[in-house]
Subunit: 204 residues, 2 copies
């Protein structure tokens, strides 16, 4: 994990461990549904992706937060879904599918080149070359609804089996959820450097 | 750390490791300065403590974020400063002071009974008995400005020495910064239960 980089344009010094990757894909959910479509650039505000299904200052709790009554209004820290193409390939292989597209599971950003992206801890900062910063809230949990979407898009025969398979094989590989620390425009292909919280840095 | 508790009123099931404490003190910074004054109750919105110096949806970056030009507008994840009376006692002893009041260093919440409170990782949730939830953003770093405030309030002779001592001895004991996930009223003395992110749970 000890990849050291030059700070990119617009950044100054970044103390602590450095990792880096590339913004391989951008996706937006314009309809009232989590499935996304590819875009070349996206404008981010403090609420998330402008016009996206998951943008907003607050959100309503779901089965992911069993400690609240359903539909409790809480701060929206799940603005962006981030996946890794390397992890998507691993999951597709484990599901015996030729591919798993980020759009099928509602990803907004696909970031290539970061080992074990899904394991980046809460509080990790992602600095995009164009000036946007997002902060990791948590590892995302694979669910049956996303599994169902994969089954439908991949056109498999046994949709129930594939729906159930996803939560099993994609654990710790389904990416992250994050929120916008510094708004701006994301452009496909731009570089991203990462900073993980100091508590997670054990070797120097 | 394996303290197991009954969920408190207003909570439902909380999976994962449980820790708990008590809201020992509440403090607000009403003036244009970080020093706080004690209060019996405080109303929290999604922006932090209503009327507090550090409340707001965004904030301006400082020397804490050397990767941004100073005064860059970023999301305000540092709404609340949380300290532990046990850690404050440790720091006071190390500084050879009879006491260190949370007000002197601009704390908003003092939470007793949580071992190594400052080491709670980013993403930890604090569920207050009255219904408020706050989420840990990061460990707070002790600085010379807070050190200077301690020196002045404690009335020591060598203010420079005490100002410099604080950042040295309070590292990893200066508490946390956090933001409001679920607004409401905090009342002095209420219970708080905690949930740390699943990635940090190694033993069961």
């Amino acid at each position: 994990m000890a990849i050291s980089l030059q700070p990119h344009a617009g950044m100054r010094t970044v103390p602590g461990r450095k990792l880096a990757g590339r913004l391989d894909g951008l996706y937006v959910a314009e309809a009232d549904h989590f499935v996304t479509r590819a875009a070349d650039r996206l404008d981010l505000t403090f609420d998330g992706i402008a016009g996206d299904h998951h943008s907003g200052p607050t959100r309503r709790s779901s089965s992911r937060e069993p400690w609240y009554p359903r539909n409790t209004v809480i701060r929206n820290e799940r603005q962006l879904s981030i996946v890794s193409p390397e992890e998507m390939t691993q999951v597709a292989m484990a599901m015996e599918l030729p591919e798993l597209k980020p759009e099928w599971i509602g990803a907004n950003l696909s970031i290539a080149g970061v080992p074990a992206l899904s394991m980046l801890p809460a509080g990790s900062l992602l600095f995009f070359e164009g000036g946007v910063t997002v902060k990791v809230d948590a590892q995302n949990a694979p669910c049956r609804i996303a599994g169902r979407s994969i089954a439908e898009h991949a056109g498999v025969a046994d949709k129930d089996a594939v729906s159930l398979l996803f939560p099993k094989v994609a654990k710790r590989q389904r990416g992250l959820v994050a929120w916008v620390e510094k708004p701006g425009r994301l452009t496909k292909g731009e570089g991203v450097s990462l900073k993980i919280p100091e508590q997670w840095i054990y070797d120097v």
